[in-house]
């Protein structure tokens, strides 16, 4: 089946079997290997990409399902050669170790800040709770996203609405 989507701002198309997963289309057909596979069951979030700005797990989306959509992968975070605020935050706050969960975490962080420019720790923890990290213990990932929020506010690139997040958590 023919499929066409915008990936990181550029139109990409392919001819795929209906059963091909989005993550395999990205990794194999488009050679965008920054999107990882960790579990195959939508549990770990290593394969997270943004679908029209919303985080989705690309291991449980078929490539043909996203025909016509706008996809952002980790390779699309960089802006004009410069790291995005979220990427800078992860580096400055030691928000990554082995790097395997990092693309998914950064994309979730990016989507969160687009909706909520000044999230609390609890809101960040809730936002990233669909993504598993085995190395960092999450504390520095929370700090990294806060760091990014501050950078974004300082450069005036903030979004507008706060996300609905249950109170509590993370204790």
């Amino acid at each position: 089946m023919k499929v066409t989507m915008r990936v990181n701002g550029a139109e990409k198309s392919g001819d795929v079997e209906p059963r091909v997963l989005l993550v395999d289309f990205l990794r194999v057909n488009l050679a965008l290997t920054g999107t990882h596979v960790g579990c195959d069951t939508t549990s770990c979030g290593a394969c997270t990409v943004l679908l029209d700005g919303e985080p989705v797990k690309s291991c449980t989306q078929l490539a043909v399902q996203v025909d016509g959509y706008d996809i952002t992968t980790v390779e699309g975070l960089i802006q004009g050669g410069a790291l995005s605020p979220v990427q800078v935050g992860f580096h400055e706050e030691h928000g990554l170790q082995c790097g395997f969960c990092t693309p998914g975490m950064m994309l979730v962080g990016t989507a969160l800040l687009a909706n909520n420019p000044d999230p609390t720790d609890e809101q960040i923890r809730w936002a990233i709770s669909g993504n598993i990290c085995r190395c960092t213990g999450y504390m520095n990932i929370v700090k990294a996203i806060k760091h990014a929020a501050q950078l974004q506010q300082a450069t005036g690139k903030a979004g507008s609405h706060a996300a609905a997040v249950p109170a509590g958590g993370g204790e």
Partner: protein, 784 residues
């Protein structure tokens, strides 16, 4: 890109990581990211049964499927004498089953095809006829009269017993127990769990038919040891084997062993003449690769009338699965479990261990742990808390009264370990102060009076890490040294290559900092390379918190070697006598004339351009470091929990972690390691479980059943530190990667048991789930 790249990056500086750049851009190089020309894909057919005789395997339909190049069975492997392989513990393990399957998930056949989905489709078309046998799923089952014999193919194997192992002094311990005023017993099961790195295991085997060279890209924590094992298993000459461990997405011990998939992929590439990629899925990873723990432990602690510990007696039954393939030093059958006396001055101890075959996955690895030290630490710390509760003593004070004292170091333990250094009361005091322990205790008592269920748990662990020394510690006879090779280029930039292999620990930064400190070249100018056996010096790899204790020491030593050559070069350049020169980080200057100096960069250039008569060119060296002793990191962890009586839910309110890992090279990275370990410890204590039903079906075979902590459950950590340098390590460092996983499970569970102690509940085995807590409270008549 970094705000800290201008920093020199010596020891003690929290410079940002040099390796981050590629990961932040999605440009890491994990095994599954590599595509080689002509590459084929392999999928493995696994046993659905825990124990069954194979009657027949029909591959005809599979072989006829589109894209299929080959279907490999145990019979084919046997023709090449590769149906079985040696394990790291002196046993044998089936590569592809020929006679029986012995655990659910065991490798039975493999398909090699043009694409991954073609290989999987054909795998599902293989027909295997099994004769199902009764399964053994525990040491008790293995011991039972009439238990099925799992290893019937092993000559002389009459039952399911693998080993008996002892440490300590039996007679002296018996005598001490005879005189004890009080004996406290704890029986506890440290259940099977799994390291579950986010990246699964896998490889690409590329045997070049023209040259015979086998290049194997592999998720390996120990590439050199794997190369040697491969040479021994396959008979290929070792110079024709190149193992490349690229970026690794977490290891935690799971990526130490040799798995059958690596062997089959290599054999297939050799036979077909094209590269073969094999990447596990998560289910395969959880059901077939190196698990952890599965120790059934009974500990008895003898005490005198003053509450002083006088003896420790421990027996454990180890559930090793279908093949004894634990990755650990040869002479220690139960790993380093005999560190079980922990932080306490216990005059005598006796430890016995028996290992058993069961119909479960093999490959007992240390999940973020130095060869079973986690089980030992858990047992003693749980036992000490139970003893304090039973004696009506405060758990902190009871520990203080029994600690090995600072002036007793170096301390020889009852089982023969020589602890290098420590100050246990100091770490405990820092933790208690951070926690506000005295006030908190009063608060707990007050809240209990109101009917609330709340408690404080403490664990004061001691680890033993950094293997070797090589005389005592080996992997298949290979002494556990490690290595560093340092090349300083003419422009003063350097390349450091090592025998260890980072899986996220930040080696590219930490080891560059050691060179920055010892040779004065800024960390940003030192490239660190690991994982390619054709270019890196031989080493035993990264596990058991050994990289900084061993390879970090090698890095310091090779830097010092080059500094000595640099002194000669500086003397030549400055026309001064060597003994008239003084070293200040990054330069030699003439004593009393600080403006007459040569920088390390000037000297490096001279090493290739302006040498004294008779001196060899270049500024390069290699050092193999065999440590004189292990290192003994320690610390105190303290946890506060609230328990909901209605639901049994445990809420961790606080977690204070005070670690002493000696000198910290990059404090930011050290803290990151501790955060990660405390989180994995939390998972083990409350969530992570690999268990089996009576037929040997694995429960916990995917991330919907094998529960890992997310950011939502994971506590926030309050960090503290003390610094007691290792006296024998050239930098005073001890290693830190595993302390938190070793020490924290007991702290979490001790908090739960402390909270439940008013109701007479003395133990709940991990994972401490809400239903277990709920049932324990109900069993004591507690309702909402």
């Amino acid at each position: 890109m970094s705000s800290t790249m201008h920093m020199h990056g010596g020891i003690g500086e929290s410079i940002k990581r040099k390796e981050d750049g590629r990961f932040l851009r999605g440009k890491g190089n994990y095994v599954d990211d590599f595509v080689l020309p002509g590459m084929l894909h392999m999928s493995i057919l696994r046993s659905p049964h825990a124990h069954a005789r194979i009657k027949s395997i029909d591959t005809s339909a599979a072989g006829a499927k589109p894209g299929v190049i080959a279907v490999v069975t145990g019979e084919l492997m046997a023709q090449h004498k590769l149906a079985w392989m040696p394990t790291l513990s002196g046993d044998t393990q089936a590569v592809l089953a020929t006679d029986k399957v012995r655990f659910q998930g065991q490798e039975v056949a493999a398909v090699i095809a043009e694409t991954k989905v073609q290989a999987e489709d054909a795998r599902d078309a293989i027909v295997v006829d099994y004769d199902v046998l009764p399964a053994v799923i525990s040491p008790d089952g293995a011991k039972a009269a009439g238990a099925p014999l799992i290893r019937d193919e092993k000559e002389g194997q009459k039952d399911n017993h693998i080993y008996h192992w002892e440490s300590g002094d039996k007679a002296k311990t018996q005598a001490a127990f005879a005189k004890a005023a009080k004996v406290v017993r704890l029986h506890t099961f440290y259940p099977r769990c799994h390291p579950a790195p986010l990246e699964t295991c896998g490889c690409i085997a590329d045997v070049n038919p023209a040259t015979g060279k086998a290049t194997i890209y592999m998720t390996s924590q120990a590439p050199h040891a794997i190369r040697t094992v491969f040479a021994l298993v396959t008979g290929l000459p070792e110079q024709n084997i190149r193992i490349i461990s690229p970026d690794i997405g977490g290891g935690f011990g799971n990526k130490v062993p040799v798995y059958p998939g690596y062997v089959v992929a290599t054999a297939a590439s050799l036979l077909i003449g094209r590269p073969v990629k094999w990447i596990e899925d998560r289910n395969e990873n959880l059901i077939s690769t190196g698990f952890a723990r599965d120790f059934h432990m009974t500990g008895d602690l003898a005490l005198d009338e003053k509450g002083k510990m006088t003896a420790l007696r421990v027996h454990l039954d180890s559930d090793n699965g279908a093949f004894f393939s634990d990755a650990q030093p040869t002479k220690f059958k139960a790993g380093l479990f005999h560190i079980v006396t922990g932080s306490y001055d216990i005059p005598t101890a006796h430890v016995t261990a028996d290992g058993y075959y069961t119909n479960k996955a093999p490959g007992g690895v240390a999940y973020r742990c130095s060869f079973r030290v986690t089980e030992a630490s858990y047992l003693i710390e749980r036992l000490v808390t139970n003893a304090a509760i039973e004696l009506g003593l405060d758990q902190a004070e009871f520990r203080m009264n029994n600690f090995i004292q600072p002036e007793q170091f170096p301390y020889t333990s009852a089982t023969g370990w020589v602890y290098d250094s420590g100050d246990y009361p100091k770490a405990m005091n820092v933790a208690l102060e951070k926690l506000g322990y005295d006030e908190l205790r009063k608060d707990v008592e007050a809240r209990r009076k109101k009917g609330e269920v709340t408690g404080i748990g403490i664990a004061s662990f001691t680890e033993v890490v950094g293997a070797g020394h090589g005389a005592e510690f080996d992997i298949l006879g290979l002494r556990m040294f490690d290595s560093a090779e340092l090349r300083v280029h003419p422009t003063g930039k350097a390349m450091l290559r090592m025998g260890v292999k980072s899986q996220g620990q930040g080696h590219e930064t930490t080891f560059a900092q050691i060179v920055a400190e010892e040779l004065g070249i800024p960390a940003s100018d030192v490239a660190v390379e690991e994982g390619d056996t054709d270019t890196a010096p031989y080493g035993l790899g990264t596990y058991a918190s050994r990289s900084t204790p061993v390879a970090g020491a090698a890095t310091a030593m090779v830097s010092r070697k080059l500094r000595e050559k640099a002194r000669k070069l500086a003397a030549h350049l400055l026309e001064a006598a060597e003994e008239d020169l003084e070293w200040e980080r990054g330069k030699f200057f003439v004593k009393g004339s600080p403006d007459r100096f040569k920088t390390i960069q000037d000297i490096a250039f001279a090493a290739y351009t302006n040498l004294p008569e008779g001196m060899e060119a270049g500024l390069e060296g290699v050092h193999y470091y065999d440590p004189p002793n292990m290192t003994y990191p320690f610390g105190t962890y303290a946890v506060v929990v609230d328990i909901d009586k209605g639901t049994g839910q445990v809420k961790v309110k606080r977690m204070v972690a005070v670690d002493d890992c000696g000198v910290r090279i990059n404090p930011m990275i050290v803290e990151g390691q501790i955060h990660g370990g405390l989180t994995e410890g939390y998972g083990i204590a409350f969530m992570e479980l690999i268990t089996f039903d009576s037929e040997g079906n694995c429960i916990g075979s995917n991330f919907m059943d094998y529960l890992l902590p997310t950011a939502w459950e994971t506590p926030k950590f309050e960090m503290g530190e003390t610094t007691t340098p290792s006296p024998h390590h050239p930098l005073g460092a001890k290693g830190v990667g595993e302390s938190a996983t070793v020490g924290s499970p007991a702290a979490y569970v001790n908090a739960v048991i402390d909270a439940l102690s008013p109701y007479g509940i003395t133990n709940i085995d991990m994972p401490v789930t809400s239903d277990k807590v709920w049932a324990a409270l109900r069993s004591k008549g507690v309702t909402e």
